[in-house]
Amino acid sequence: MSYKCSRCKRDVELDEYGGVRCPYCGHRVLLKERAPTIKEVDVR
């Protein structure tokens, strides 16, 4: 599962012990990236 730091915009792997924190800049707000697959939506 990949995340993106909202301050330095770098990709971040979330690691279990480090808590929610960007290892490069220490920012605590991470954004979840959209999956690269094609999403099919039923319009009903």
């Binding site: 959209r34 939506v41 319009v43």
Partner: protein
Amino acid sequence: MASDFEVEFIERDDRNARFVVRGLTPAFANGIRRAMIADVPTMSIDTVRFVENSSVMFDEMIGLRLGLVPLTTPLDDYETGETATLALDVEGPATAYSGDLRSSDDLVQPADENIPIIELKEGQRLELEADAVLDRGREHAKHQGGVAVGYRHLQRVDVVGDAGEFDEQESNILRGVIETEDDELVLTDEFDNDLTERYPGKEVEVHDVPGAFVFHVETDGSVTAEELVLRAADSIGDRAAELEEKVAV
């Protein structure tokens, strides 16, 4: 039923029609109205595959908007349930319009080209592929070809005498189509829907004409108004034939 219907058009263009039908029962008039709304199939986007969507709206919201875009429907070429594919690829800063949809079939195109789907800012992109399917209005409202389809009784206006000389004339509002004493059909818009404008100083009586109905038909552009009415009548005929066949066994 041996008797024929008498049909007279008052207004008629691609998306709008107003016509008088004589010799109908109220039940049959309502049957035609319902057939126009629920039984004439139109193409509409049903499944959307999102390749990229970095816009401010969710995939589902954009899908819902795409579903409502009217698509021109070649009813002779498609059976209910058949699909056509459309694609959209727009990169910001720009607005994605319904006219940006590219279709695999030239006959299935957005009927209106200026419907904004989503406004895209710098760096945002929308890329998708969509399947349009032919289905009927009773399955989903987006498949309705007719918009604001309805009918009224035809009303006959007779002049019965003069209004009192010093009487205050109150406006007499009527909407739709009237039949005058000379059997002329007049749209009420022509005299601002007010009978005192057309017959100043006269006393008039208004009656419903039995068995005569004024239909107003408007379409969303997927089929012409004329085709909508004809297909609705056909669908009633087909169902009557089906019933006859099943009962006969």
